[in-house]
Each structure stands twice: as C-alpha cells, then as structure tokens.
C-alpha cells in the first residue's frame, strides 16, 4: 500500500504543479513477499539439414543436313559490260531492309522429307539473287513474277493460273532455266496451241537465250529425229502434233523430266484424245499453265489434275473438298491482286512470224514494189511509198490469196482465254476488211463491230449491247471510229491487230479502255509481224520514243506526236527521196 503526500492547493493554478512521491516507509515490494531462486533448463542443439536439389545438365541433340549440289543452280553471269556494270552497281547499293518481303522458294506439301524441304527453304530468296546481280534477266521481273518462279521451282505438279497478261510464259521459262542450270531437269517438253509455238521460241530467246530450244516440226522422219535428239534440252510441240507422234512419245526410251502444258484447259475433258495422249507422255514433273483453269464446272480442274497427279481429284467431288485438295498445287493471281506491282497499262508485244503462205506473198510484193518505186525515179512521191507500205501491211494481216494469217491464229487463241475468264476485249485495225475477216473467226465470242461502215445512229446501240451482253466478249473497232469519244473502261484487254503510223493515235485507242475509273489494269497486245515493214516502222518509232523520253523525261505529256517524217518513210525501203539525199 502506498501513501501520497500532497501539498494543500491554494489556488486552481497550483493544481497543475501537483506532484506525487512514494513513501518507502509505508510501501512494500514483491521481493518482500516471494523468495527468489534460479533454475536451469537444457535445450537440444538445432542441427541444420541440407536438402540436395539436383540441377540436370542442359543437353540437346543435333540433326545435320548437307546440300552438296546447292551451289550450282545459278545461270551463268552475263558477260556484257552493261549488265556486269549493273550488277556491280546493284551490289554497291544494296542495304538490308528488315521489313522487306522476300520471294522465297517454299516446298510444296507433297515434299515430305525434312532434308528436301530444308533444301528449298534454305535457298536465298530470288529477289536478293536478282538484286545482287547473281541472277540475271533481260528485264527486271515484277515481284509477283518472282513469286511465280518460287512457286514452280520446287513443284513436281503445279498449275500456274495467272490471269492473261501477267506473264505466265516468262515465269515458266525463267523457272525452267533455273531448273536446267541446277541440273534438276535435263529434258523439257513444252506443249502449246500451234499459233503460240513461235511465241514460245521467241520468248525463250529473250528470257533464256543460253538454253537450246527447238520446235518439233516437219516430216515424220525429221520429227522422230527431233524427238530423240538429246542435244536440245527444251522441245516445243503443238497439241495436234502430239496425236500424230503418239507412238514415239510413249516409247519406253522416251522420258521427260518436265512436261509443261500451255493453255492447259485444252485437256479439261478427260476422255478427249488430246488429254489421253498428253497423259501418256512419260515424265517426272508436270506443270499446267492456264488463265482459266475452270471454264464451266469444277470437273474442268479434275481433267487438268488427271495430267498433274492422276486420281488426286475425282469427278463430282464437292467444291470445298476440291478447293482444299487443289489449293497447294495452284497459284492464281489477277491483275487486281498485283496492281501495286505492275503498271496500270501492261504492254505485250506479240511478235509473230508470218505463215509460209503470207511470207511468200509478202516477199514477192516487197521485191516487186521496191523495184517499181526505184523505176519511178524523179516522179517518185511519198504517196507511192505509202501505197506500198499499206499493201505490205495488209499482207501482214492476211494473205490475200489463201486468207492465211498468223495474227488471226494468235488473236483467236487469246480471245478464247479472255472470253473464258468472262472478260471483254477491243480489237483495233485500220482496215474494215481486216475487221470483217476477224469477225468471222471470232464468231463464237459474240463479236460486235464499231467502225466507219456502221451507221452513226446504230453505234450507241452497239456500245450498249457490248456493255450489257454477257455473251459478247469482243468489239472490233477501226482506229478512226473507235479512238475518240468512247469510254469502254470495262474492257481489260486491247489488241492492236495492226499498228498505226503514230503512237499518239494508238494511245488514244488504248485509252478507250484505260481511263480513270477503269475496273483494273489494261493489257495491251501489240501484234507485229517480224522481219517485215511492221517491224521496221516499229523500230523507227521506238527510236523516236527513246529520244523523246531522253529529252523530256520529266514531261508528263500523255501522248507524244512522234509519227514518221517524210525522210523516214522513204527510208523504210532504203530509198532516196527525189529531192533529197538517201536516207538509211
């Protein structure tokens, strides 16, 4: 018990100074109540336990692949100083662009072995080979064309089904060139419609000049020799000829590493003789080129697959199933899809050789005509030369005796493809007579006419019908009537059956189809008979165009008035203008 002594509070202010003290005399503590003692407790030692955590060794396995043949599939470098210089320039300029999309060779799904798949995957992309100057082309291919080559290269069965005008021929030739250079194929057979044989030969001379090629033609004995000749790695034959030479083709000793069918829709009917013969050709790789793999029904595709991979597709298969199965085998691009890659106007020069009948008439007429002009001496006028030029150009269109025409054969083949794709085309000629003959040949494609002989009041009806009639795929126009004041921008194809003197007039004609608001890119096919007056005129115009472009490259003038001068017209026949010097 404790007692507190307090001092008496005088005032309320003194209360804050209140203090308390313990009085030891009247207090007690615990020690006075309990006895204090110590006791001892023993604790066990703490023994730490080590728990081992095993860290497994990080190991792996390796798979190795070697590609001994890889270094050899580049075509020989060009020795021309221009191209060599360009290659060096390309090397200097190159710079890696991480965002650039490369044109890689990708293995198709039917190549299963990892070794083989990696062989293709690990090749350098084609665009880089072109960019570094290792892979040379006469003209730089568009990126989509490199994709086409990358598609075909590894394929043992494939369809290149690009829309007409995108360069299926060039893509096939360039890939064949790569395959031949790599030693992956040694013998190639190209099968195409007869009018296209010379075109293939010419395209080969442009895109693969170092590859020997021959067209199978001539007598039966000559053809047999050609078929069996190992000297020529690439042979070109037309469909009709295959039927005649079937016994040679199916001979045990005959084998092709690659057979390419151009216009492969010809074998869509599986039971046709053409299809049977083509399928019987012994071969390792099979490619089909066609702008219209399906014309009427999905079974068309089954017909083509019977050539590529027999039994892979079956008639009557549901559409989704066909699409799923065939997907990896087909590459199809339309102009719309590759519009960024290509110019909105795509020019194709159809350089054709006259038929033998045309050629003999042409040679006689030129010889006779030049002699006549020379004999005129001082009375020679430009009008005389014009007359000869026009006469020769008419022969280039049609042989006046037999009616034979290399241009018409080609035109029919091309319009067939245009019509099969549901597209429309304009054909220009300067002569109504030529248009008449063309009309007869194009009858199956619903040709309409629009030229000077069509009365003015009927012309609008013709245009309306051409626009609206789905069966009318082609309109025939003369340069004069069809070149101004018409908008036919729904047409994607323009054929210049013969050439006008002045490119400005041709440009006007082409622009009927290629206008603002055009549905897509326009493909312009300029038909030209090689080694004739047409080629000479074209060469002069090309020279003038180049000169014009060099002088006024910054000018954006759409049409250039670069027609032939008086001297140039005389110069076409190496004639001396009466009042001037000789023009070479």
């Amino acid at each position: 018990m404790s007692f507190f002594s307090t001092r008496p509070r005088d005032t309320p202010a003194d209360a804050s100074e209140l203090t308390a003290e313990i009085d030891p005399l009247h207090s007690w503590v615990t020690e006075s109540m309990f006895a204090v003692d110590t006791c001892e407790l023993s604790l066990p030692n703490i023994e730490p336990v080590a728990l081992p955590i095993r860290l497994p060794k990080l190991t792996t396995q390796v798979r190795g692949f070697q590609f001994p043949d890889a270094a050899r599939w580049i075509p020989p470098k060009s020795s021309t100083p221009d191209q060599a210089g360009a290659a060096t320039e390309a090397k200097k300029k190159r710079k890696s662009d991480p965002n650039r999309k490369h044109n890689r060779i990708k293995p198709p799904s039917d190549i299963v072995k990892l070794q083989d798949r990696l062989y293709y995957l690990l090749q350098p992309p084609l665009d880089l080979l072109v960019g570094s100057g290792q892979l040379n082309f006469p003209f730089e291919p568009f990126p989509y064309q490199l994709d086409g080559m990358a598609f075909l290269f590894p394929r043992y069965a494939g369809i290149l089904a690009d829309e007409m005008g995108l360069g299926k021929t060039m893509q096939a030739i360039s890939t064949i060139r790569l395959l031949l250079c790599s030693g992956e194929v040694r013998s190639v057979l190209l099968v195409c419609p007869k009018p296209l044989v010379t075109n293939w030969l010419r395209e080969f001379s442009v895109w693969a000049p170092e590859i020997p090629i021959a067209a199978i033609e001539g007598s039966s004995a000559k053809r047999e020799f050609q078929w069996r000749s190992p000297q020529v790695p690439v042979k070109v034959a037309n469909y009709e000829l295959l039927m005649r030479d079937q016994s040679i083709l199916t001979d045990d000793s005959m084998h092709f590493d690659l057979v390419v069918l151009d216009e492969a829709q010809r074998i869509k009917n599986r039971s046709s003789t053409t299809s049977t013969v083509v399928r019987s050709i012994p071969r390792t790789r099979s490619w089909a080129l066609t702008g219209t793999p399906v014309e009427n029904c999905p079974d068309d595709l089954v017909g083509i697959f019977e050539f590529l991979s027999p039994g892979y597709l079956k008639p009557g298969m549901p559409m989704p199933q066909i699409a799923k199965h065939a997907g990896d085998y087909i590459l199809r691009r339309t102009k719309d899809m590759v519009l960024d890659d290509m110019p909105p106007k795509l020019y194709r020069d159809a350089e054709l050789d006259l038929t033998p009948e045309q050629w003999s008439t042409y040679e006689a007429a030129e010889k006779e005509g030049v002699l006549y002009l020379e004999n005129l001496e001082q009375s020679l006028t430009i009008q005389h030369v014009f007359e000869l030029v026009l006469r020769l150009k008419q022969i280039c269109n049609f042989d006046p005796v037999t009616g034979s025409s290399a241009k018409l054969e080609r035109l029919v083949a091309d319009v067939e493809e245009v019509a099969a794709s549901g597209k429309k085309a304009i054909v220009f000629s300067q002569w109504v007579k030529s248009l008449d003959k063309i009309r007869d040949a194009l009858e199956p494609f619903g040709p309409l006419e629009y030229h000077g002989k069509i009365p003015q009041k009927k012309r609008n009806t013709v245009i309306d019908r051409f626009k609206n009639d789905p069966d009318s795929h082609v309109i025939l126009m003369s340069y004069g009537a069809g070149s101004v004041g018409l908008n036919l921008q729904f047409c994607e194809y323009v054929f210049l059956f013969d050439r006008w003197w002045n490119p400005a007039i041709e440009d006007q004609a082409i622009n009927r189809a290629h206008r603002l608001g055009a549905a897509g890119a326009v493909t312009v096919t300029k038909m030209m008979a090689m080694n004739t007056i047409e080629q000479r005129i074209n060469d002069v115009l090309d020279q003038k165009r180049e000169m014009f472009d060099a002088l006024f490259s910054s000018s954006e003038t759409p049409t250039r008035n670069v027609g032939l001068s008086r001297e140039e017209i005389f110069g076409l026949f190496d004639l001396r203008a009466p009042c001037g010097k000789k023009v070479a």
Binding site: G64, Q66, F67, I111, P124, S132, Q134, T284
Partner: protein
C-alpha cells in the same frame, strides 16, 4: 506399252542426314568475363581461307515459350548458297535452372550448350561465323574462326545495338552490313571481307534459319501427334 507417269514425284535426296547422340555436358560454371574487355594485340593467322573455298556460318538461337531454345547453324558458300544446316532439338531449362543460373542462363544456353554443340558437329570448314545475339560471340572459345556479330541483325528495344556497346571490338563492312569483331581478330576479318562480295544479303540468312527451325518443329510435332 509401259507408261511412266509421275514416276519420281518425290525429289531425290539432296544430301546426307546425320543424327547425333547427346553431347557430353559441361559442368555448370559462371559465365566467363567477356574476352572483349581485354585489348589483345591483333594476330593474323597464316592459314587464311582461299577465296573460292570461303564459307560463312550463320548461328542463331530461337527461344519459343512453348518449345524451348533451339539453335541453328547455317553454312553458306560465299555466294549465299546453303552447304550445310545443323539444328538442335529444343532445350527446355527447368525452373531450377532459371533460379540458379539467374541472368547468366541465356548466355550459358546460347554459347556453351547450343553453340558449342553445333560447331562441334559442323562438317564444313568455316571461314567466318556470324551471329545475331551478343551472347553468341562467346562461341569463339570453341572455334578457330573469327566470330562476329551482325549489327543490323541484332535487336535491342526494337533497334539494332550500337557498335560501341561491346567494348574491345571493331567493325568491318561485309555485303552492306556491319560486322562487329573482337579487335584482335579485326585484321583477319578485314583480309577476308572481300571474299563475300557476292553475298546477296548479310542479314537475311538468319531469317532462313528461323524458317528452317519452324519447319523442323512443325515436322517434329506432326510426327509426335502421329505417334500418339
């Protein structure tokens, strides 16, 4: 009449395939101090490769969360054509590895586990090795060839790393790209740089390795699912 149709639809084999057993494992060790910290006098070996025989080995490691770490070594000739490809099976470090190796795990996997094994299995003599990962430079301990880092192929925060971020190194320009090499091997690399003038692109081959690794993985998973 015998008709041969598509007789050889499958392509002929393009080379030899080798499958190797697991390599012996190195004891776990701390990463070595970067060799590039020490300036060593440049040396020029007498046995430089001949131009026509010059090769270039591209080495990279792909890390995929699902499959793990896979390494690829692509050997090209001087024109960029594939001669050989070596590819590891994926390595999957455990959580224990991640904890105990800490930040050194990546370097250990790239150089000592994957890089070393790939180089030991490569059959083609390599004139030059290049990588796109800074850790890859450490494979120099396992090869006599100069090991380089292709700066344009590297990525740090979506940008190539800079040449001065690795000390003790110098750069050489090859086929339009910047190759970083230890300064003691600089003269050696300079001497062979011109051999690779025909190389179409010095960065793109890393992409090929990644594509090939993807292809190998997809085939592996296909085989596994078929087996299951």
């Amino acid at each position: 009449m015998t008709v041969k149709v598509n007789a050889g639809r499958k392509p002929k084999s393009t080379g030899a395939v080798t499958t190797d057993s697991p390599a012996s494992f190195l004891a776990i060790e701390t990463p070595q101090t970067s060799q590039f910290l020490f300036a060593v006098s440049e040396r020029m070996p007498d046995n430089l490769p001949k131009k026509n025989e010059a090769t270039i080995g591209y080495f990279t490691v792909v890390n995929d969360e699902r499959t793990g770490w896979t390494g690829g070594l692509l050997v090209l000739d001087r024109a960029g054509r594939p001669l050989e490809f070596q590819c590891t099976l994926p390595v999957r470090p455990t959580r224990a590895h991640e904890i105990l190796f800490g930040p050194t795990l990546r370097s250990h996997l790239v150089a000592q586990v994957i890089g070393k094994l790939l180089l030991s299995k490569c059959r083609t003599p390599l004139s030059l090795i290049c990588c796109d990962l800074p850790e890859g430079l450490k494979v120099e301990s396992f090869t006599k060839s100069p090991v380089t880092l292709v700066l344009e192929a590297t990525s740090q925060d979506r940008h190539p790393i800079s040449a001065d971020s690795i000390s003790g190194s110098e750069t050489v320009s090859i086929a339009g790209a910047t190759f970083l090499v230890a300064m003691e091997r600089h003269a050696e690399l300079e001497a062979i740089a011109d051999f690779y003038n025909d190389l179409p692109d010095a960065v793109e081959p890393f992409e090929r390795i990644r594509e090939a690794v993807k292809e190998a993985h997809s085939q592996l998973s296909r085989q596994n699912s078929e087996a299951a």
